[in-house]
């Protein structure tokens, strides 16, 4: 199937077709003054006419004077929680009478019971790359994450070109955008990828096909008489222009040249002390990061002690308990925890998974209450390394 053009009505038909196929469609919606993932039944659920302003430690929505549906940058969360919830029960134990009972019944919890497969609408390029990274981290391992595998299996992904990057964005530096699947970085396969265009030829979506399922869905729309004409050269040029303009508007850049070696060599740098004087070790950066995967487990018991649930929850390397071994924490200082986070994300990740752990979405910058900017910290380490 060739690249097609959908109108807004065509996009609504696409959403309807996904619902008809049994998908729960999740897309960007305005909630509590921010853009987050929510259920999408109609295009009116999408943030039409909303834009965002992001800078270190600041996020605001504002009204736009155009009808664009995807004219904003990275929302408060990536698609990560859809496949990797912040809290889930792994298994439960029912004991006959008390914990010493020999009649312990162990039940793995069927994670997808009652959950419809998810179609994610409007996954921007950075978050698409993040899905690819998470797939590597959680699936292509000695022991994969079964719950994640079940949720990811059958997910339908409709990606979108990021047309309005924020001041905090640097996907171009990371090779993950602004066009979905662009650049040398890791990219998750998408089923369909669209670029929203609004010019003298009208408001429309240039839709590219990434998989057989995507082609099949588009073919179904065409067969049903939905207006989905083949893209003309002018449409492609318009889409390319959106990409070029977004690339030019990228708010930040990160020099990735020799980054692993730089960070490994900088383990004792005074820059970490300087960051630590500002860092609150709150862990916000890890909670909004689309690739952070650390988790903790805890046993939750009912009042009788007869039912025990093993819960897995997101954890953060900024937490003091995170590195606790008998006798104390391995990383007692904020300095060492920030170093761990940044070094893991930008350097050790390469050794572990053959890629960077950063997609350049800028969320860790936006949502840091102390406005710490990792691109600035890397630059400081580079300057300091150059002086040494």
């Amino acid at each position: 199937m060739d690249t097609r053009i959908l109108t807004t009505d065509g996009l609504q038909a696409l959403v309807d077709a996904l619902h008809a196929r049994g998908f729960e469609v999740m897309g960007p919606v305005v909630r509590d003054g921010a853009i987050a993932f929510g259920r999408v039944r109609a295009l009116t659920d999408l943030p039409a006419g909303w834009g965002d302003e992001q800078e270190p430690g600041r996020y605001r929505l504002h009204r736009r004077d155009d009808p664009l549906l995807f004219a904003f940058a990275a929302g408060v969360q990536s698609a990560k929680p859809l496949f990797f919830p912040a809290q889930e029960v792994l298994w439960r134990v029912r004991a006959g009478d008390g914990e010493a009972s020999p009649t312990v019944e162990l039940t793995p919890v069927a994670v997808t019971a009652g959950e419809a497969p998810v179609a994610v609408l409007g996954v921007r390029s950075c978050d698409l790359a993040a899905i690819g990274i998470q797939d590597t981290v959680l699936l292509r391992r000695t022991y994969g994450d079964a719950a994640y595998a079940l949720r990811r299996e059958g997910t339908f992904v409709v990606a979108v070109t990021c047309s309005h990057p924020a001041d905090t964005c640097f996907c171009v530096s990371m090779g993950t955008g602004p066009r979905p699947g662009a650049g040398p970085g890791p990219a998750a396969p998408y089923d369909l990828a669209m670029t929203e265009v609004s010019d003298e030829l009208g408001h429309r979506f240039v839709v590219e096909v990434g998989s057989d399922r995507g082609a099949d869905l588009l073919a179904e729309l065409v067969a049903r008489g939905v207006d989905a004409a083949e893209a003309r050269p002018a449409d492609r040029v318009a889409a390319d222009r959106v990409v070029a303009e977004a690339t030019a508007r990228m708010g930040r850049r990160l020099d990735t040249d020799g980054l692993k070696e730089l960070l490994y060599a900088a383990a004792e740098s005074p820059v970490w002390d300087e960051v630590a004087s500002r860092c609150l070790a709150c862990g916000n950066c890890t909670q909004v990061c689309p690739t952070c995967f650390c988790t903790d487990v805890r046993d939750v018991t009912d009042l009788t002690g007869g039912l025990v649930e093993r819960e897995r929850v997101w954890d953060s390397c900024f937490d003091a308990e995170y590195s606790y071994i008998h006798g104390g924490s391995v990383r007692a200082s904020t300095r060492s925890r920030y170093r761990q986070w940044l070094t893991h994300k930008l350097a050790a990740w390469e050794d572990q998974f053959g890629m960077s752990g950063c997609v350049g979405c800028g969320r860790c910058i936006t949502w840091c209450p102390a406005a710490i900017d990792l691109t600035a910290e890397v630059a400081a380490l580079r300057d300091e390394g150059g002086r040494a």
């Binding site: 071994i325 008998h326 006798g327 104390g328 391995v330």
Partner: protein
């Protein structure tokens, strides 16, 4: 064991290895052979530190008396590499032993007279320096051991 004179034995002990013949001959003039049965004291806390022991065989425990009995602080073994010696108070004023030293097993040693050793070192600073370097080596090993044991690593510190 083949009987050796003190002068013949001294170069074989790792503590003295590397000293030249003249130095060893000087030192031998301060030395006597001594033997201790298990439980026998080499010296007691507070007594004049008039000797330095180079262990040939056996094990010696350094102890201190607590209100509730004795506590062993350290041991020296004849086969401790580069060590196997007991006592440095002969070198440091006021030349009094700070701990008890007791033979744990059958122990034989070369005992050097402290006053004699000090006199040789004063007369011959080259010999004095050579000896001092060896004693400092022993002190460094023991201090390292004491410091690391202060960490109480097996008590649970990561």
């Amino acid at each position: 064991m083949v009987r050796m004179t003190i002068e013949q034995y001294l170069p074989h002990h790792p503590f003295l290895a590397g000293l030249d013949e003249d130095a060893l001959a000087l030192l031998a003039r301060c030395a006597t052979l001594v033997h201790f049965a298990p439980g026998e004291y080499l010296f007691r806390e507070g007594e004049p530190a008039d000797a330095f022991y180079v262990l040939r065989t056996g094990r010696v425990a350094l102890e201190t008396r607590l209100g509730t009995g004795s506590q062993v602080l350290d041991t020296a073994d004849a086969d401790d590499p580069g060590d196997g010696v007991v006592g440095w108070s002969w070198l440091v004023p006021p030349y009094r032993w700070t701990f008890d030293a007791r033979a744990v097993s059958e122990t034989s040693a070369v005992s050097f007279d402290g006053v004699c050793l000090r006199a040789r070192c004063e007369e011959d600073p080259v010999l004095g320096y050579a000896l001092m370097r060896r004693v400092v080596g022993v002190m460094s090993t023991r201090l390292h051991s004491a410091r690391v044991r202060l960490l109480d690593l097996y008590g649970g510190r990561p």
